[in-house]
Symmetry: none
Subunit: 193 residues, 4 copies
Amino acid sequence: MEPKPSGRRELTKAQNRETILAAARQVFAQLGLAGATVRDVIRATPLASGTFYNYFKSKEEVYQALRDEVALRLRPRLREARAGADSAETFLAQSFRAFFQFVAENHQPSAEPERLRMDSPEVLAGFAELKQDIEEAQARGVLPPADAASLTAALVGVAFELAERIKAGADVEEMTLFATQLFLGGMNALSKA
Amino acid sequence: MEPKPSGRRELTKAQNRETILAAARQVFAQLGLAGATVRDVIRATPLASGTFYNYFKSKEEVYQALRDEVALRLRPRLREARAGADSAETFLAQSFRAFFQFVAENHQPSAEPERLRMDSPEVLAGFAELKQDIEEAQARGVLPPADAASLTAALVGVAFELAERIKAGADVEEMTLFATQLFLGGMNALSKA
Amino acid sequence: MEPKPSGRRELTKAQNRETILAAARQVFAQLGLAGATVRDVIRATPLASGTFYNYFKSKEEVYQALRDEVALRLRPRLREARAGADSAETFLAQSFRAFFQFVAENHQPSAEPERLRMDSPEVLAGFAELKQDIEEAQARGVLPPADAASLTAALVGVAFELAERIKAGADVEEMTLFATQLFLGGMNALSKA
Amino acid sequence: MEPKPSGRRELTKAQNRETILAAARQVFAQLGLAGATVRDVIRATPLASGTFYNYFKSKEEVYQALRDEVALRLRPRLREARAGADSAETFLAQSFRAFFQFVAENHQPSAEPERLRMDSPEVLAGFAELKQDIEEAQARGVLPPADAASLTAALVGVAFELAERIKAGADVEEMTLFATQLFLGGMNALSKA
DNA sequence: TATGAATGAGGCTTCATTCAT
DNA sequence: AATGAATGAAGCCTCATTCAT
């Protein structure tokens, strides 16, 4: 009498997971991770409270999934941006542009300026990847030599901080140009020291 | 509802406030702002629960006091560092060194790498001050011209990100040198563009 | 934060609501509304503290539910009592008797002689109904003319005050007779004035 | 070196007590006895919290003092009203008029329609006094015979209930006339039964 | 006496989580 | 798998009251 559990069920499962993630995205943006509760997330959903636990063990797990999702969407774009780089300038400019564009597309005005925490496996992997790409580029002579770890940190720092200006309305190209020239000149100076 | 005989009267008001702040510093470091509760803070204190509310209205208020306190100790050191600068190199080197030294002295190992939120009035004022000093240094010819807002953001981003390396054990002088040269070369390039 | 295995599932929702109301009735009678706390009510129940909030938002809401419940049981009896009245005497006697009987049946010895507050919608509706019935009875000539609002107030005042004597052990019939004659004679006098 | 504790001190003491009572009157009117706290009363005062306990042991004690104060001001007026009564009509009319006038003068618009509780010694004494006066008046032939206890209850009930109408703006003389005639006719009927 | 900070019991409520349906 | 009522630990905070000054 029951219809056979076709693809319909699978779809529902995936949909429920997405429903929860979407609600969490919104709730975290409004309330911050600290302020949000599992209840808040559930309430922003047509689902029942128990259903949440079929998909996630805790608020933190959802948060983590959200961060990974971001990294998952961002990393390929960054990798691609760096892939075709045959000069320091293209390496930098394409990387910054890709990041700033992503920020511009995805940022949602949030009551909580909660800075993205960057300790999830996916995000850390993205950083490691960047460091590795820098080292390779240095080896290929595309980037001048300099301590890769510090350089990675500096790039990340500048990127995140200028991203705040993007969120506040600054122009993507302008920020890209600024960051690119800063690092072009800076790396040049570092390699001569 | 009956108070106990006490004896806690030996502690002055200011001392109690300090006691709470110290406990909060430790608790937030261990649990993070999100994870910590007012109860946790009180428990890390010899005081009674009600006493907390004689000094702070909420966890957030303590947190804010803590951030302001940091800014209050850091700002004079940064101002002083920049005050005597008669060249771009000294401006940058002394600023970075002061900041990195402060981080090295004050950082406590924390389970939560929770990045300092930078939206407290004191911290924001520190940023505004930096931007203004940069503009003045540019006017005096000490720093080459470039968009001061973006430059401030970039300096802050690099400083905070390299500070993480300091916390992880990196050398203050090394980081100072790296950052200084990065920006010396970078600003030079920017001013020529 | 771990719920215990339960077993409480045998009680239906409606039963739980009744359980809380019954406990509240008892607790309010003993401690008075002012003195009672939500905790007291919960403690007089086999339920968990959180369960209370599945049914009522506050102590006041329970109190209100209790008052309405009383009015809900009393009003039909009073209406019925007045319905068949074809003379002033039956109108009054049956009304007072119904009320005094209700009080005698339902009163529980209470530490707090807290007078029933009469501002709940249900109770007010009961008063309005009485006033209307009085006006109709006056129109039909069953009751002599007199200011209906004042008359209602007077009837209510006498009924409530004599109810105290009932609670203290006075006889229902005796009080009914007293009140009936008082108003028979009184209304007569008023209609002549 | 200290000025001798003249009458100044006595004045202050009495003033403080009055200050607290006045604050309590207001606070109870706004918040109701149940809702008001000692803190609320203190806050409505320029005094320190500890000072409260030099004058009263608890919120209830203040409340009781307030009720007694009312009874203390009302009783003499009622006694006087009845003193000169040489007929049932004057006995009733002067009593009701005195009471309604007192209500009209003293009532303050209150968020809480909290009915005056009538179990304080002072208030009960007032009732006993009334009952006694009624019995005396019956003995003198001024009032017709009827069960004095029930009659007292009925008078009180009507008086309090019509007082609500006074608070709502009804006219003192009108209510006095209504109540007087009701009881004149009513007692007459009762004495004949 | 007056003050007001300290106390800690205990009020109110929400929370994460389970589990019978 | 989905539901949602029940649970009770534990959060938040206010309260009455004391007592050193």
